[in-house]
Amino acid sequence: MPKAGDTHSSTTGASLVEGEEPAHDKGDPKSLTRGPKPPLFDYLLRLGDNDLVLAQRLGEWVGKGPALEEDIASTNIGLDLLGQARLWLGYAAEIGNTTEDRLAYFRDSGEFRNLLIVEQPNGHYGDTIARQYFFDQWHALVLAELATSRDARVVAIAAKALTEVCYHLERSSGWVVRLGDGTDLSHTRMQAAVDAMWPYTGEMFAVDDIERTLIDARAAPDVQALHMPWIAAVRSVFSEAALAVPSDAWMHGAGNRGGKQGVHTEHLSHMLAEMQVLPRSHPDARW
């Protein structure tokens, strides 16, 4: 995890030495995403930022999981997502003439392109599972489509990630069932959790101009078309979990003004402050 004092941070720190020094002004974070960039750059940020932000959120459970096995499970999944984030952001960095570390640590929240759902706070474990399951179900569908992209690098990353994400989905859907079809207390809390998370799911299936361009180029999937299989899967899991599928509600990020466009909830900047404080305090540090 990209946390202060983490001895494994050499995995990201090493690229500060190995990566090319970017041409832009080091002190200006806006230059990382401003200026003309191909649509693929923005799209890769969307994929990478989803994984990076969710990995950070899952890392917040370290030492605080409700049971030892779940502590390990959440952090293992976060580690998978962090590895995937590095692959997506690494590809974006090549296109954007920067490094994966600069993208991770030196962008402000307005430049992040993750879905709103992944930046929602952990809450109790049911909230975390609700967030995880809705995302995992989407993630598996999207990666399966990306594995047929016209971009060979996208195919390679997606195929690798899909095998891991299938595990994630198996686990999170299992926990939805366990908590929903559990005790009266767990059922009540889980229903409230999925109800609260529901308005963040619509954004996963919204298509803007950037994605439309990539869809037409057969580089990215049409997420609008994934909505029906996603709903069908959710209905199936909820039925087993004795949970009611929430009724359609107004969705956050409507009108293409959501996380994918850099319009975030109040939670993201607080999370980034913690995630980015060390490299921002010592921007010239070398490992």
Binding site: H8, S10, N76, A159
Partner: protein, 168 residues
């Protein structure tokens, strides 16, 4: 390994590099080498350059950096040619690539080797034998373990817990 290189320096160099890679133990599973695990994928050596291709197991596996460092220091001892380490994602690593001999070594080491990977649609849980007593009367304690690649099991007969390299 039969040496029918007839003294061709590039072939000799490549053979020497593969031998050196075969001596590099996986940082988390030191009973097996990175060659036996299928992490070291390719070697292409000339007098001008030596290219070693690695494939990471799990995307977040932090051991890949340690492995790369081990590759560099091992090769620095046997060749002066500049070394390039390439990370190849395609095709994605699968535990099916683990050599049969390595599976036995893992079991002797106390870690149950992976079952054969099956299609996602047919994911019935495989029966895992206890590496301590050989019994098949085992149960999964947790899908996740000390590293991304392992799960935790327990033998109901000898009561020993053990780790299992997941079929991936």
């Amino acid at each position: 390994m039969t040496d029918n290189s007839h003294g061709d320096p590039d072939v000799m160099g490549t053979i020497a590099v593969w031998r050196a890679l075969g001596d590099i133990a996986d940082p988390e599973l030191p009973a097996v080498s990175i060659v036996e695990l299928g992490i070291a994928r390719g070697v292409a050596c000339t007098s001008n350059e030596c290219v070693v291709t690695l494939t990471p197991t799990y995307t977040g596996c932090p051991a890949i950096r340690a492995i790369e460092a081990d590759v560099r220091s091992a090769l620095a001892k046997i060749t002066n040619a500049p070394l390039r380490v390439v990370t190849l994602l395609t095709p994605p690593w699968s535990s099916d690539w683990i050599a049969p001999e390595a599976r036995e070594e893992l079991a002797r080491y106390g870690v149950a080797p992976p079952a054969r990977v099956v299609q996602w649609s047919d994911r019935s849980q495989p029966v895992i034998d206890c590496p301590n007593c050989g019994s098949s009367n085992t149960e999964e304690l947790s899908r996740f373990g000390s590293t991304a690649c392992k799960a935790q099991y327990r033998c109901r007969d000898c009561r020993e817990p053990f780790e299992y390299v997941k079929a991936h």
